[in-house]
Symmetry: C3
């Protein structure tokens, strides 16, 4: 979905002196909230609550571009994640926890520096039928066995990110520096992605690795890190679009026996009944390797009615189930207190 935003009329107003400038600064945002019912939300039962960001995380931000001539552009973005049920920042003290970048763009691609979403996050997003919706997608992470999340490497501080588009080919890389003196490997993080699209077909694969604090001792592979490998594909049949995705997750510790591995599979579809009314459905299945694990599954549905290009009402439902009596939750944002959980949310989203 194309993000509509408020262009602040920069061109020809503030920079009238620079004749070639096609500059703009945009203030934009998204406010999303609704009433959510969640079963087994605590030891004593279900809850009805006001939830911020059922379809997409609420946010506001500034972004801009300046034409530097010769096909070169300066770009920046400052984006804040907010919870509109409380007015709080998503991350206390981190005003721009979603994006804080400056960079350059040309025909060869774009490089930005700062805090940013990772290559993995943006390359896999188009292949989740629920669009990473907190209510209810497990594409970024689920509540797995115990405290495990086995999730997607989504954001990074201290990062350099490259994105290039060459016809149907899309290349991306993120390097986030560990910033440990005398040890360039510890705490450093990497993500690589390749995407391809041709007509109604699109696909991507990504690889990422997040080194732990002690990853510098050799041999490197025996020390702690998290590795994620993703693959996704989609096909647009017109009114119907199909989506599939896969995550291979590995958390390696110094002692190999403690390592954690899992697979996450998902698939789903969207169907446009009318241009305004769309139904989304998805199934997410996680297979925790070894042991008597939760191996949870999630069934998700969303009926969405666009009141305009910027405003939509939606009704989402999710049902999650875990094996072996483990607890499970429909959402990555809270935990469950039983081996199944149902969530239903009626929400409203407005983009500005």
């Amino acid at each position: 979905m194309k993000r509509t935003a408020l262009a602040l009329a920069a061109t020809g107003l503030a920079f009238a002196g620079s004749a070639s400038a096609q500059s703009s600064v945009t203030m934009y945002g998204l406010v999303d909230a609704g009433i959510e019912y969640v079963s087994h939300a605590g030891p004593n039962g279900s809850v009805v609550k006001l939830t911020s960001g059922g379809k997409n995380t609420s946010r506001w931000g500034l972004r801009g571009t300046e034409d530097l001539g010769g096909g070169l552009k300066a770009v920046f973005a400052l984006e804040s994640g907010i919870a509109i049920d409380t007015g709080k920042l998503d991350t206390d003290g981190t005003l721009f926890d979603r994006r804080a970048t400056v960079g350059l763009a040309s025909q060869y691609g774009q490089v930005v520096l700062g805090r940013t979403f990772t290559t993995t996050y943006d390359f896999m997003l188009p292949f989740d039928p629920m669009g990473y919706a907190p209510s209810y997608s497990w594409a970024t992470s689920s509540t797995a066995t115990g405290n495990r999340k086995d999730g997607l490497f989504s954001r990074a501080s201290n990062a350099i990110r490259y994105d290039g588009n060459f016809g149907g080919l899309k290349l991306g890389a993120t390097v986030a520096m560990g910033e440990v003196a005398g040890d360039f490997k510890s705490s450093s993080k990497y993500a690589l992605g390749v995407g391809y699209s041709a007509g109604k077909f699109a696909a991507a694969v990504t690889w990422d690795r997040q080194n732990g604090a002690g990853a510098s001792t050799s041999p490197a592979d025996s020390t702690d890190y998290i590795q994620g490998i993703h693959a996704g594909a989609s096909y647009d049949f017109g009114n119907v679009s199909l989506f599939a995705g896969y995550r291979n997750y590995k958390k390696a510790f110094t002692t190999a026996a403690a390592s954690e591995r899992s697979d996450m599979y998902w698939g789903g579809a969207s169907y446009d009944f009318t241009p305004a009314f769309t139904l989304y459905g998805a199934i997410y299945k996680q297979n925790i390797k070894g042991g008597t694990d939760a191996d949870p599954i999630l069934f998700s549905l969303r009926a969405q009615y666009a009141l305009s290009k910027r405003t939509a009402a939606y009704l989402s439902a999710g049902y999650a189930k875990a094996r072996h009596g483990q607890n499970v939750s429909v959402s990555r944002d809270f935990v469950g207190f039983a081996n199944n959980q149902t969530g239903v949310m009626a929400g409203l989203q407005h983009r500005f």
Copy 2:
């Protein structure tokens, strides 16, 4: 006073594609600061300080509306309370502690979801001659006996708020969900209001209740909650306007003996010497029920000179007095160290 704000020229600029759209996003704010003298501000005497928000709390925010056709509108607001003497947020970590809402509006009224001022707050505001000014109004709360505030239920997270206007009749309701699993009553909060205006006369009554954490055990009324009942009225004689208000406050505990009750009465007037120069005066009297309480009284004056529609200079003075040797303060924002306190503030306010 009508809030003038900067319209960001959204219409026809960013959304030129939607022919019927009468959309706007507005960035706005209010910066208010001055020099304040307060007697008995500490054990050692008085203080002279720089105070933010003597007339109104400093703030900045974003708000917008989108015409969805058929009389329906999408609305949102994000509003941050700030202290410009220090640059700090009013509430650490809560970026939009004043408002963070999304909703829909039609001829039948407006419903918003999120963090918001309560029905009580907005319905009673027109009847305080000092306009809830920190320097010096007690309409929202005072410093009563001991640590008691006995104040107005002003803001709520996790809220659904309705506002409807039907000729001279105004209806309002706020429901803030407690979000305690298995216990829909605990921590939930409610406010209802009815307002009426006819020509130069206006009046309103409100009722609200804030359930405590243990309010779910029966019988409900024997457990902890705070209840407020307000009534207010005003009459505009032309250059002179008269105002009166009343609060019945009850804080109920599990043991009835511990319950706290009080009445707050206020009355006052504004007088326009010239279109730019206005004098405001008010008396606030609190009656704490039972015991040898402070039963404080506050006399307030403000002379205000409008330098423009958006900028005003003001000189405020307040004198508070308590009975039975209790301490008292002219402002809800700080405490006093004697049975009387005088405050004088010269301030400047600018709205943008």
Copy 3:
């Protein structure tokens, strides 16, 4: 350098009703980041990191002015310091830690109230060839012996600031109230400045004093406070500009023996190879009075290429050396782990 910013088209749009208004609200900002190498960054060696604000601290803000008629203007500013490597606020919880002010301006000068940069900060800024760049200027502060900073009084809360310009003469004063009840002197802070410019020559001197918490007991001078005296001068020869500055620093304690004194001297030049390409160089030398102190010295260079009026790429290098085996750092923002340190940073800055 003139700060280009986005004018939000206030004039004639939102305030069309006030015929004389020449009002504007501006949203602006600066995003600056780069890759920095620093030697001796920890006990184990050097680091390569992503640094926010190598040339200037990253920020965003709102500022505005309203014409009140008769030469009088209302002014306000709200400015937030941010670290774009992490998205965090420079100061947790202080949204507008750089500026939060409201005031009035006329031909006789400008008075603002709130949180602000001090007179010292703004009067001395033009005389630092590196422009207070974190990478690498010591004009605001250095890492001196032990934990000493011996730096410049840069920002103040609870402040009243005056600035007047009378031909080539510039006068400034900042008073920041201590706000200690019964003790107007404790914690209060003062800064005074005089500047002069004639053609290509400019100079300024400032004096400031920051009283400690116990400064009210007499005799005042025997108790704790920090005093700074600065002098600076510059001359613009055309392509070449020369700069020099001096700081006399004194931290007085109740016992005179514990007092800390130092001198900081700096000098440098800028050279415009082309209108877009400029080289800056500076030397900073601190003389800690008494003892076997670090007495550190810093050599700084910056090559800067303007990609536009708002966007520049830069390469900065600094080399710092301390005496007597003390540790030293090229930057006020981090510490060193040896008696010398080298920093090199390649960065990009964009103003909006």
